[in-house]
């Protein structure tokens, strides 16, 4: 066995940087576990090499499918398609109903977090969001290799995980609901839940009180045209002295790693991008403070 990459049976670490997978979102980890459950280790290793060498030219999420192009031995790149089984409307209605049971799920999705127990909502329909087995990931490749997954497809597997972290809603999309559609459906479900709730409590009037529309209020300047010109406030006290960020408090610090899947050919690209932004940010902050000190004179 060729052990240049890995110990036998040890999972392949696809972390392209030095830090490993430790700070990856859980769903990326879960995806990698899925891949590592694949039995044909050798093929997997070859695919990994493939991916790292940058043979994957593009990956596109188009509606419910993933389209990719991989440079193989042939002159033209091979075309790879990946897709999951789409949930039908009935399945989705179960999922939506289940998702509505916990406000937290909607709350997390709306603030850009994939809930770690999301599968429990899907369990209601007897379906899953994540494929349970790699076999559930349907695929097609234009290469002559009969085996599925071929190494081109496997190479895509490796890169998909990180692509999920760019946008957690991609998984829903692959299952047949876009972000916008999903959120709209969830809002509808909440209304239904509310209606049930009020029926139970028999006190619907409580919710009706605060929902009368007021006519458009004219802008104050319409009533008092002098306001068109006037501004009499003084500079707010906390803008008097312009202060730098506290340690670890810049937007870049708080936002953390950029959820952007790396091109394997440029293994340091994301780190370089972020560290350059951060060092330039310091320079620009300093310039801003100098400018602020000189201004208002």
């Amino acid at each position: 066995m060729n052990s240049s990459h890995n110990q036998n049976n040890a999972p392949i670490n696809t972390a392209l940087g030095e830090d490993g997978l430790s700070d990856q979102p859980w769903w990326v980890e879960q995806w990698m576990e899925l891949i590592n459950s694949y039995r044909f280790k050798k093929r997997l290793e070859r695919a990994w090499t493939y991916a790292r060498e940058g043979k994957v030219i593009s990956i596109r999420f188009e509606g419910r499918r993933v389209h990719a192009r991989v440079q193989g031995t042939d002159l033209d790149p091979y075309k790879v398609k990946l897709w999951l089984d789409v949930l039908n409307d009935e399945d989705w209605s179960y999922v939506l109903e289940a998702l509505t049971q916990k406000a937290r799920w909607s709350a997390q999705l709306l603030s850009g977090v994939m809930p770690s127990d999301i599968e429990r909502a899907f369990a209601a329909s007897g379906k899953r969001l994540f494929p349970f087995k790699l076999q559930e990931v349907r695929s097609e490749c234009s290469c002559p290799d009969k085996a599925n997954p071929c190494k081109h497809i496997s190479a895509i597997y490796f890169l998909m995980g990180e692509r999920f972290s760019e946008d957690p809603f991609v998984l829903f999309q692959l299952r047949g609901r876009s972000r916008a559609a999903l959120l709209a459906d969830l809002a509808d479900q909440r209304l239904k839940a509310l209606a049930n709730f009020s029926n139970e409590k028999n006190s619907d009037k409580e919710y009706e009180t605060n929902n009368q529309y007021l006519p458009d209020i004219p802008h104050p300047a319409v009533l008092e045209p002098g306001l068109w010109w006037s501004y009499s406030s003084s500079l707010s006290a906390d803008l008097v002295v312009i202060t730098p960020a506290m340690e670890g408090d810049t937007g870049l610090d708080v936002a953390g790693d950029l959820p952007f899947a790396q091109d394997p050919k440029f293994p340091e690209a994301r780190n370089l991008f972020l560290s350059h932004l951060s060092s330039q940010g310091k320079v620009l902050a300093e310039q801003a403070m100098i400018q602020a000190m000189a201004s208002g004179g």
Binding site: Q101, A103, R104, S106, A107, L109, L110, S111, E166, D167, P168, D188, R190, L191, L194, Y207, T209, N210, N211, Q212, Y213, L214, H219, A221, P225, G226, L227, W228, W229, S230, Y231, S232, S233, L235, S236, A237, L239, V240, I242, A245, T250, G251, G256, L258, F260, D263, K265, F266, A269, L272, Q280, K282, V283, L284, A285, A288, M289, A292, S295, G296
Partner: protein, 1067 residues
């Protein structure tokens, strides 16, 4: 005068233009214009400066920006409809009848500060200006003043400078993330943007503030668009329909809002970061490379395939979502309630709260009930309230995990927290939640404000025997510990501390104990402190001041102490004092209050600055005060009164008139005593010593030796520069005293608003109140003058306000005390040159008159009188000089005094008209005043054309930034004009007929007017002006003659009588 404006020119993308936004700088000015209306396109704004004029003016102001191009825009402005007099406009004839009817409107755009007509309409106007590209615009905005009224800069420029300062703060704090913006449709490129993050509580509050106060003129522009192909054939006539299509007569709706301001902030932040950012592309993959390059490029355009950009856009958006959500009108809010009796759990309610007004809240159920509809929160509309609430809760979950329990149902409204969780929320999570844009409402006693901290409740009263006027004296007092509004003893505190629970229930109130509380309380108790009147004054001046180790939550003063405190803090004015015995005049009610105030501070041994508006009688109040001291037998030593030379005469006159018992010694002139012995001898039995600032400095050694009872400085702005010799000399004299010496400053300028001058003034009055000069500069002057820091200003005002009394003649309480016209005599002396010239003229001419035949006498006498009056004005006038030089002011005391008074008027933004009977003097005065204040001063005389006259009057009356001073010849301007904008009238020289003067005065005064007019009459003491004035007053013999026949009667006087009349009486 022109006024500079700035408005944002949004990018409108057209096939021919890249559509970059810009800051449009433009200026309007006052001119006469005929009403006009839109034709095919919006009408040209008739008051704007051309771009050439604007460039010149901006360079004069030192504000010419870089990176500018000429630009035109359509600005929507409030306008005044006026029927046009000529209705046959040629452009209108070209229009079809329907359009003609539509565009029939004519009028003029309003200007800032102009009185608003009853009915205002909004119309678009074509405005020319200079467009600054965003990067340079931010540099330019940084240079604008952050505070204060600049006569050339409009209000909205200050709004812009505040917005830019916020942008700088965002950059300094690194509160931004780069983003990729996917094209919004055809014509919009994909762009890389630097986006500010507005999740922090203070940034969100600032957004609301700037949005609520946005002057709409800052965002009322649409770019002017050249129709395609027009550039090439500029000379040929543009097709009107193409212009109309490109620039329809359309107005911007007046909208304001957080979204608009957030966008402007983004533009400023983006422009600056873009300009400064140096890309480094090594090791980047093609996508990140392109993104980084676009972040540094001028336009930010990303040229990659759509799907790649979309990928970047989604990833960068997802990245940002983790830190900051969208800008919405409402946010999620968590409200913590204290446990019910006997319960251990704390209720946490979920609410939706308006960003603009945190008191506007609705329960989560109302948000759920709205579904995807709109929710009305007071006047604020919230779209998709359920999602706004959920998104906020999702964000809250990331910093406050216990929340997870509360979100396990479909439509949660509240949850319960354990006391440990509640403590975490109170102590740390509340701030973190606010930082991610979630509102938190805590019970009052735990809200983290000062009241929720351990502090003191103090009760105090004056000691039985005290009069309450010595600052160092100690008080009878008692205290209790207090927290969250309830009192507790040290033992209770120790007991509660043993509970090892940071949130404890005490007397039915939940309070939070902090680690150092017990230690601080113990230290305070063991220090056995004394409370002095000083401390009491300080602690009651500002809220939450610290006493020893603890903040003071409440201060309860006994009735006697309360009386002293109220007076000291000016909550209650000191009791007024009526005119003392021996004062031969009447005090108006507000003057009695002023006298009471002076006496009050004197008892406290504190210096006082009487800063009443000009004309309210500061001199009289001071003289009454000195007479009051005399009556109380407290005036034992002489008082030194220092004033500008030009008002010394006035002081002497008033002292003689009002306080004849007070002995005045004038320490000026060549024969003043110059040795200690002779000086002390001269001061025997003297009450007031008058001297000038110049002599005070020259004779300082002599003056310092005298043990003054008090030092009074008039026109106290003379010591505004603390390091000037004059200021130091004044301070030295007042400080050199062995025994205590009262200090009073008089000034008519708004002294409390002049931060830089306050220190010198207070250092004279009450040293130490404002600390050392360096400290003062760092603590107050820089923050206030540079940045307009209001909290420092408030603090400063609180510190000095007990010592400054300023009443304005416009105050309601004062107006009722004042007659509608207040006549003020300004007594002035003559300078050396004036005296010599005056004497020579009298001698030479009287001889000639005596020898002249009767027939020619008449003319000669009048000639003499005219010449003497000219000399009193200025020697240059008598000598027929036409040019003014630097020494011009020094040659006339009248002009010096006039300048001093005008300075106060200009400072207080009043307007004044000045009458003279000499056209030549009018020209000289005009030239001098224009040069002195570097601004236009019109002069209206007999040779002014009718059109010019009207333009001058209109500008003075109507132009909000029109001239403040207006010189008129008595004959040409004395009748028929309406100049009611003026609140001061000057009669620079006297006319013999009071009726003529009164008529002129009435130009500024109209019956029923709600303001008061100050009439200043200049009288040169000892000269013919004084004699005539005396005669006019002394109506007994000559009044009829004078009023009946002008100056003619003078010619009939015999030479001896004439000599009496004109001879200079030297005092």
């Amino acid at each position: 005068m022109s006024l500079l404006h700035a408005t944002w020119l949004p990018a409108i993308r057209t096939p021919t233009s890249s559509g970059r936004p810009a800051l449009l700088v433009w200026a309007d000015t006052w001119r006469v214009a005929a009403p006009t209306g839109p034709g095919d396109t919006p009408a040209k704004h008739p008051f704007t400066l051309s771009t050439e004029e604007l460039r010149t003016w901006l360079s004069d102001l030192g504000l010419l920006p870089e990176g500018i191009i000429d630009a035109t825009a359509c600005l929507t402005l409030p306008s005044r409809g006026i029927r046009s007099s000529n209705k046959t406009s040629t452009t209108n004839d070209l229009l079809e009848p329907t359009q003609k009817r539509q565009l029939d409107w004519t009028g003029l755009p309003l200007q800032a500060g102009e009185p608003v007509p009853q009915k205002t309409q909004w119309w678009p106007w074509q405005v020319q200006g200079l467009a600054i590209e965003p990067g340079y615009a931010t540099i330019w905005l940084s240079k604008l003043p952050l505070s204060g009224d600049h006569p050339d800069l409009s209000d909205e420029l200050r709004w812009w400078s505040h917005l830019q300062r916020w942008a700088l703060s965002i950059i300094a704090r690194g509160r931004w993330l780069p983003q990729v913006e996917f094209s919004r449709g055809e014509g919009y490129p994909h762009r890389a943007r630097w986006v500010p993050l507005l999740n922090r509580e203070d940034d969100r509050r600032r957004l609301e503030e700037l949005a609520a106060r946005l002057p709409l003129v800052a965002t009322c522009a649409l770019p002017w668009r050249e129709p395609p192909g027009s550039r090439a054939n500029r000379t040929t006539r543009l097709r009107p329909e193409a212009m109309r299509a490109a620039n329809p007569v359309a107005s911007c709706r007046p909208r304001s809002g957080r979204l608009r301001v957030a966008n402007l902030l983004e533009e400023l932040v983006d422009a600056q970061l873009r300009k400064g950012f140096q890309p480094d592309l090594t090791g980047l993959d093609p996508l990140l490379k392109e993104w980084q390059q676009a972040l540094a490029s001028d336009t930010g355009v990303i040229s990659l395939e759509d799907e790649k950009v979309e990928r970047l856009a989604i990833a960068s958006n997802h990245w940002r979502e983790g830190v900051a959500g969208r800008v919405t009108p409402a946010r999620a809010c968590l409200e913590l309630l204290t446990p019910r009796q006997g319960d251990d759990f704390w209720d946490l309610h979920f609410l939706l709260q308006a960003e603009a007004d945190p008191t506007l809240k609705v329960s989560a159920s109302a948000a759920w009930a709205s579904g995807s509809k709109t929710l009305q929160l007071g006047e604020i509309r919230v779209e998709n309230p359920g999602e706004v609430l959920l998104e906020g809760l999702g964000r809250a979950l990331t910093v406050f995990p216990p929340l997870e329990r509360g979100l396990e149902t479909a439509i949660p409204e509240a949850m319960q927290l354990t006391s440990t969780e509640a403590f975490v929320l109170v102590r740390t999570a509340a701030n973190q939640l606010r930082d991610v844009g979630v509102g938190v409402e805590l019970p009052n006693s735990l809200s983290g404000g000062l009241a929720s901290r351990l502090g003191l409740a103090i009760k105090a009263e004056l000691i039985e025997s005290s009069r309450g006027f010595t600052l160092g004296e100690s008080l009878d007092w008692s205290w209790e510990l207090m927290i969250g509004g309830v009192s507790l003893s040290l033992r209770e505190l120790e007991h509660l501390g043993q509970k090892r629970s940071p949130l404890v229930l005490h007397k039915d109130v939940w309070i939070e104990l902090r680690p150092n509380d017990l230690k601080n309380a113990q230290r305070f108790c063991t220090s056995d402190p004394v409370l002095s009147l000083d401390d009491a004054l300080r602690l009651t001046a500002t809220e939450g001041d610290i006493f020893i180790t603890l903040p003071v939550h409440s201060f309860e003063a006994g009735p006697r102490l309360q009386g002293v405190l109220e007076q000291y803090h000016q909550q209650k004015a000191p009791a007024p004092l009526s005119a003392p015995e021996g004062f031969t005049g009447q005090l108006r009610p507000y003057q009695e209050r002023g006298l009471g105030w002076l006496a009050f501070l004197h008892r406290f041994d504190q210096g006082a600055c009487l800063a009443d508006d000009m004309g309210l009688g500061k001199t009289i109040q001071l003289l009454a005060f000195l007479q009051h001291l005399k009556c109380e037998k407290e005036l034992k030593r002489p008082v030194l009164l220092i004033a500008p030379t030009s008002v010394l005469t006035n002081w002497k006159r008033e002292a003689i008139a009002f306080t004849p018992e007070l002995k005045v010694f004038e320490h000026y002139g060549p024969r003043r005593p110059d040795t200690i012995v002779s000086f002390e001898k001269a001061l025997q039995d003297i009450n007031i010593v008058l001297t000038s600032y110049g002599l005070m400095q020259r004779d300082s050694e002599l003056l310092e030796i005298i043990d003054w009872q008090g030092v009074v400085i008039d026109e106290a702005q003379a010591i505004k520069n603390p390091s000037a010799k004059q200021s130091r000399a004044v301070r030295d004299i007042s400080k050199s005293n062995k025994t205590s010496c009262f200090k009073i400053a008089l000034t008519g300028t708004p002294v409390e608003n002049r931060v830089s001058e306050l220190w010198a003034l207070m250092d004279f009055l009450n040293p130490n109140v404002l600390g050392e000069e360096d400290f003062f500069r760092q603590r107050y002057q820089l923050p206030i003058e540079r940045y307009g820091d209001m909290s420092s200003l408030r603090d400063l005002k609180a510190r000095v306000s007990p010592f400054i009394l300023r009443r304005l003649k416009t105050d309601k309480a004062i107006i009722s005390d004042l007659p509608e016209k207040v006549e003020l005599c300004e007594w002035v002396g003559l300078g050396k040159e004036q005296i010599a010239l005056y004497r020579k003229t009298v001698e030479d001419t009287l001889d000639i008159i005596a020898r002249s035949p009767t027939g020619q006498r008449h003319g000669k006498v009048l000639g003499l009188l005219t010449r003497l009056k000219q000399i009193c004005n200025h020697p240059a006038l008598a000598l027929k000089e036409k040019v003014i030089d630097e020494k011009f002011i020094l040659r006339s005391q009248k002009l010096q005094r006039l300048e001093e008074i005008l300075e106060e008027i200009i400072d207080t933004n009043d307007r004044a008209i000045l009458f003279t009977q000499f056209a030549e003097w009018g020209y000289l005065l005009q030239a001098y005043l224009q040069c002195r204040w570097n601004s236009e001063v019109p002069f209206l005389c007999g040779s002014t054309s009718k059109n010019e006259r009207q333009a001058m009057i209109d500008r003075f009356q109507e132009d909000p930034r029109g001239p403040q001073l207006f010189v008129l010849s008595l004959k040409a301007g004395g009748v028929g004009l309406n100049l009611t904008r003026a609140s001061h009238v000057f009669h620079v020289d006297r006319w013999w007929n009071p009726a003529v003067e009164n008529q002129a005065t009435d130009r500024a005064y109209r019956i029923g007017q709600d303001k008061r007019v100050m009439v200043h009459k200049f009288i040169t003491s000892g000269s013919v002006e004084e004699k005539i004035d005396q005669m006019i007053r002394d109506k007994s013999r000559l009044a009829e003659d004078i009023i009946g026949s002008g100056e003619d009667w003078l010619a009939g006087l015999g030479v001896d009588k004439l000599r009496d009349l004109v001879a200079l009486e030297h005092e």
